[in-house]
Each structure stands twice: as structure tokens, then as C-alpha cells.
Symmetry: C2
């Protein structure tokens, strides 16, 4: 784990963003800027996250198809895990008894947990939303469950993530403005209740709740669909509650890319300058670059891991579909500009063979490459901001990379 | 890769078993003995194999659920690959054009390829056996294919394994003696044809066949079911043809364990003392120990890898079924006497969670452990023979380990 010595930390103290004694182990530094893009450093109980950061998705406490050591070797600073999945199985109570999520999965760096809201709205059966809570059935065995703003806090406290998210209502797209407004307003009311519960953790009022990671931070979530005035009201209300960081939710749910970029730009600018900004569930490599340009510091997305398992690979010259017959005897690495294990070791011909043969190693090797591509992209972004050449990086990135499959 | 210096090698030259100029890069040394058990060293074009050896099964040029580097890190000396599967897809012609199997899969140590006979008899559709060849349909797309004693040699020459196997007819159990005799006699006739073709490789008579690994060795296969007189005749006939090594086929096909041990003991003793002996497709950990005690030098089996994917784990105190509810909060490693990555890093509780969640990492971590258990068992066997304590090792092994699930 990366450690910074106390002297270095105290010298920079003045630039740290800290909210309250509740999250005394949380701080966010902005080291340099390029337009609205920021190069920062997030201090969390389990270590430091260099931003802009991409968080690999470890849904059930494992990144699909690779070991946790491989995630560390890819030099990811922070892992995302899913509250809903871990609550349903093996249970947050069980994980707390086993010492928390870090000990359970063998990951000593920071973890961010989502609130479970997104999965409840997309996965759970017989869902009923009331003001108090969402009542639903487990997607595994139909067991009746519920998630409230308070229980989402409690579950994440037991899991012991470094960053917990508030429970939000995340509508799909398109949606009438009145519905978007109702979801945004409910999210805001839930944010107040979630923050109150979060601040009560470790006190007599929440004595029954295990605090697996002291100093956990909590992020609010801005909703409002693609309606900029709703986003403004959501920002104002969420910031009034006060969180260590702010996420933009309700995007990457089907809206056009240009619309998403506009909402990101508008919302990021409205958020407090000193706090970290997290764009949830996004996106393609160019979405990352464009969202950083609009002021985003953190990302998560299943795209690199899910596409890897489907044979869709991201490279410095575009997407490759490894199934393509043209790779049958292609001795070149997937991406000649990539230093990952897969590209150092195997030919496109072998990767195609593994994929067509249905070998598990295909999923593993493809995932290693795609995640490395995403993490390399973030490293490139961070260096570009730090060295004052983000705009030229951005142009060069788009020249090299497009959404189209290249299959070169 | 392990290298021995030339001086050490030449000093031992007198004890080397070498057959002919055809296989000038092949040699087998017997370093020490314990009863019928032998501690040996097999010299092959791609390196040295310490025997008794277990060969992890890499059916399609990949050991299921782990990367080829993980197989190397487990310190396996030799990999087994399946001729039938690689012939069907991606094709031995393609692999030859890509530089042979070693380059294709990224494995620089020795490889043994089976002949494809076993898979033709167990997998292929509409199989028709004639004296000339087996005609069948691909299990993938119904494409008509055939395998003859000669084409099995050619395919393995293109693949470029270090050890090629002759095409044999492998009957199931039980089988009438007349059928076992017919299969044994045909295997013998095919052995003569296969050896003739093997000796023609690299000459004008087989000029069209790529020799991907000069100095490839060829092993004969003894058949005869559980009939000891048939085994005797098969040994005599196969040895009369003359091969670098000899395999015992047609066991682990359903016969009782005691019967298998008797056939192994009888057949191994009948085989030439100086040549390596390979028991095909066997077996459980105690089968390995007992077969070494009866004179076997080489093994392959899908048991460690297949069982791993089913959650059946081999440990120093017996088998563990990781699904078992009793492991739900078990913080202990799978096997406290195992130094593999899985046991060094994860609890039984986490491994159970990964398995129940259907995570690919479950297959990976379980496979790493089971293969390490098998390779550790072979390391223990080799040390025990070398240090003159094989009998006490054997007794201690059976005291620790049994066929029953322990679930301790």
C-alpha cells in the first residue's frame, strides 16, 4: 500500500478538504488542474487513491475472472463492491464477523461500496418503494428483504468500505420530468436520513451496528435525470446535507452521449470545488477522458470486465473483437503499446483460440488486458494534467481511439 | 527452466537410456530406487522432467481456469495436451504455422501429447473403426475426420510436443477377453505403423510433415484390459517395436482400484527397467503413491482440475467439499500444510462464498490449490525415494489422507 509520511501530509494540510470529525481519516487534495480537469489525491482509511481514478468492479467481493492479487498487480488504488449482492450473500453480518470486507476478500487498499439502490431497482423481484424503504425479494431465493436509507448505511458499516454511498432512487431514461423530480426529491430526503444515521454510527443510537472500518467516508448522490434545473436543485439539497464527496447518479442509463456530457459538465461545475466528484457507472474510454475534462475525479464501470468476457477488447487503436477470423494466425500481441501480462505473453491467434474453445483463461487474460487499458488511460490522464498537457492528451486520445471496432 | 550443466550430464551418461539416433535428445536416468519405486530424470528437447512426475492436463493448450504462467509458478515440469482437441480446433497445421504448440501457448518446458485415440473413442460422433483408421465426426461441427496410426504421428509432429503417443484402441471396462484381445492386437499393429511413420519424419517419405520439435520422443501404449496374459503379450509386442518410453493404457476406465493396482504392478514389472513408464489417466492422490510403489514414473489426470471446478478440494487431511455450510465462517486456510497462493491468502469462508456466487475466481483458486497438492505429492514422493524413506512416506500419506471427504 502507498503510504505518505506524516510530515508531507501535515505540510499540505491547508489544501485538504475535510468535513467533520466523523470522517477524520478522509481528505481530498487537488494537486493540479487543466481547465476543469483536476489531478488529485484522496486519503482514505485504507490508503491513498490517485485521481482521476477508475475503480474496477468487484461485485461479490471478486473482480470477475481474475484474482484479487491480479487487481493489485494492475495497480488499481481502489475497488468497488456491491452492497446489494454482498447483503444477499454471504451477508454483511457474516462479513463483519469475519473482520470486514477487506479481510474477507484479501484486499488491503481502499474499497467503495455502492448503496445497493441501483441493484434493487434493476435486479430484485416484486419491488415496492415506500417513503420508508424499498421492499423486495432476493433475486437468488425470493427471500423478502428491504433496504432503507438507514439500513444501507448499517450494511456498509458492517462491510467496512472506505467510502459508503447513500441510498438513492435511480430512474431509467427517458422519464417524464415529474417522475425525475419525485425520484430526486426522495433521494434528497433519503440523503438526510442516511447522513443522520451515518453520523450516529459508533454512538449509543447505533450501538448494534459493527463499524468494520473506523473513519469511513460517505458520499451523497445527485439525481435529476437529464433536467438541468433538477440537477441544480439536487446539488443544492445534497450539498446542504454535507458529504465527504458527491456522486452523479442516474446517467449512463440509456441517454445520448452528448446529453450525458452536458449533464456531467453542468452538474460537476455546480458541485463544491474542494470535494471529490464521482460519476457512477460510466463508461467507455472516451467517456472517461471527456468526463475528466468536465471535472470528474472517480469512475466505475463493468464495461472493461464484461466486454472482456465477451471477447471485446480495448486497445490503443480501438476495439478488437477477438472472435474475428482475421486473428486466426495473427502472431501480434493484442495491443503493441500495452505492457500487460496478456500483451507481453500471448498472440492474438492464441487469445482467439482460447475464446472460441470457451477456456476460462480467455476471460482471465482478456479481463487483465481491458482493466489494464482502463487503468493505463487513467494514468495517462493523471500525468497529462500534472504536466500541463491534458488538452493535447485528449486530442491524441481521440485520434487513436474511437467507439468503432477497428479489428486492425 | 531447469538446466543441468554439461559436465554433470556427461558423467552420468552411462546410466542414460537412449534408443536411437531418431531421439538423440531423449534420455532417462534412474537416480535412486526404493523397492520398485524409482526416482528419475527425463531429458527432453524442452528440458528436464523430474520423475515420478504428474502432468497437469492442458486439453486445448490451456489448463482449465488458470494461466500458463500459473502452471509454471506451480513448478510443473511438463504439460499434457490433447491431440484430438487441438486437431479439431485450431488445427495442428495452424499451430505448426504459428511455430508449434510451445510458442502458441507460451510454455517453454516439455509437453506430452496423447494420440487422440482416447478422445475419438469417448467424444467423437458416428465413429467407425477400420484396420486402416478411425473415421468419425468432429464433436464440434460434425465435420468428417479420421485418425490413423500415421496421421496421429504427423499431427503430433506438427504440434511439436516433446513426447508423442501412438494411436491406441482403448476399450472400456468390463469387456470380454476376446474384445480386449482384439483391441490389444490392433493397438500392436498400429504401434508398428506409428513407429515406422515416426522414424520417417524428417525424411523424404514424410517431407510434407512439419517437425516443430526436432528430437521428439515417442511412447508405445500397452493395452489388454485387466487380463494379465494379454498385458504380457502387449508388453512383449510393444517392446519388440521399440519406443523411448512405455505407457499403460486402458486403466482408470471403471475397474476396481485393487484390480488396477494389480495390473499396474504386473505390467510395470514386465516393462524394460531402463525406460520411463507412464500410467495414463490416473488418478487419486493415493493412486499416485501406490502406482509409484509399483514402478510408475509419469501420470496425468483431470481429477485435480475437474474436481477443483466442482468445489472438491484435496488437502493433507482428506477431501473437502467447499460448498459445505460448515465453512460459512471458517477463517482457516483450506489446508494449513499447503503453501499455495490460495492457502496463503484466503479463508475457507471466502472460497465457499466465491464458489456459491459462481465466481470464475473460485475455479481459479481451487485449481491452483488442487494442482499444487498433486505436484506437492509428487515432490514428497521424489524426496522420499531419494532419501530412502519412501515406505514411511507411503504409510504416513495413507494415515493423513483417505478417499473419504473429511470436511474437518
Amino acid at each position: 500500500m502507498k503510504k505518505r509520511n506524516a510530515t508531507a501530509r501535515s505540510r499540505r494540510e491547508g489544501s485538504h478538504y475535510r468535513l467533520s470529525a466523523v470522517s477524520a481519516r478522509f481528505a481530498f487534495e487537488i494537486l493540479s488542474r487543466a481547465g476543469r480537469a483536476r489531478r488529485g489525491r484522496l486519503h482514505l482509511p485504507h490508503g491513498v487513491v490517485e485521481t482521476p481514478a477508475f475503480m474496477p468492479v468487484g461485485t461479490r467481493g471478486a473482480v470477475k475472472a481474475i484474482t484479487i492479487d491480479a487487481v493489485r498487480d494492475l495497480d488499481a488504488d481502489i475497488l468497488l463492491a456491491n452492497t446489494y449482492h454482498l447483503h444477499v450473500r454471504p451477508g454483511d453480518d457474516r462479513i463483519a464477523r469475519l473482520g470486514g470486507l477487506h479481510a474477507f476478500v484479501g484486499w488491503s487498499r481502499p474499497i467503495l461500496t455502492d448503496s445497493g439502490g441501483y441493484q434493487v431497482f434493476s435486479l430484485a423481484a416484486r419491488r415496492r418503494v415506500t417513503e420508508d424503504a424499498v421492499v423486495f425479494q432476493s433475486h437468488l431465493d425470493g427471500q423478502p428483504l428491504s433496504l432503507s436509507p438507514e439500513s444501507a448505511v448499517d450494511i456498509q458499516s458492517r462491510l467496512g468500505s472506505d467510502v459508503a454511498m447513500i441510498l438513492d432512487e435511480c430512474p431509467s431514461w427517458p422519464i417524464p420530468q415529474t417522475d425525475a423530480e419525485a425520484a430526486m426529491e426522495r433521494t434528497l430526503r433519503w440523503a438526510r436520513r442516511g447522513r443522520a444515521r451515518f453520523e450516529a454510527l459508533g454512538t449509543a443510537a447505533a450501538a448494534a451496528v459493527t463499524v468494520s472500518t473506523p473513519g469511513q467516508a460517505q458520499f451523497g448522490i445527485v439525481q435529476g435525470g437529464t433536467f438541468l434545473d433538477l440537477r441544480d436543485r439536487s446539488v443544492a439539497g445534497t450539498v446542504a446535507v454535507g458529504f465527504e464527496g458527491y456522486a452523479i447518479g442516474g446517467l449512463s442509463v440509456g441517454e445520448p452521449t452528448a446529453t450525458m456530457y452536458d449533464v456531467v459538465a453542468h452538474t460537476a461545475q455546480a458541485l463544491p470545488e474542494a470535494a471529490p466528484r464521482y460519476l457512477m457507472g460510466t463508461g467507455t474510454p472516451d467517456d472517461l477522458v471527456e468526463s475528466v475534462a468536465r471535472g470528474i475525479d472517480m469512475f466505475d464501470c463493468v464495461l472493461p470486465t464484461r466486454n472482456a468476457r465477451n471477447g471485446q477488447l480495448f486497445t490503443n487503436v480501438g476495439r478488437i473483437n477477438i472472435k474475428n477470423a482475421r486473428y486466426g494466425e495473427d502472431q501480434r500481441p493484442l495491443d503493441r503499446d500495452c505492457a500487460c501480462y496478456t500483451c507481453r505473453t500471448f498472440s492474438r491467434a492464441y487469445l482467439r483460440h482460447l475464446f472460441l474453445a470457451g477456456e476460462i483463461a480467455a476471460a482471465t487474460l482478456n479481463t487483465l488486458h481491458n482493466l489494464n487499458f482502463y487503468l493505463d488511460t487513467m494514468r495517462g490522464i493523471r500525468d497529462a494534467i500534472a504536466f500541463g498537457r491534458f488538452e493535447s492528451f485528449r486530442i491524441a486520445f481521440h485520434q487513436r481511439w474511437s467507439r468503432q471496432a477497428v479489428d486492425s
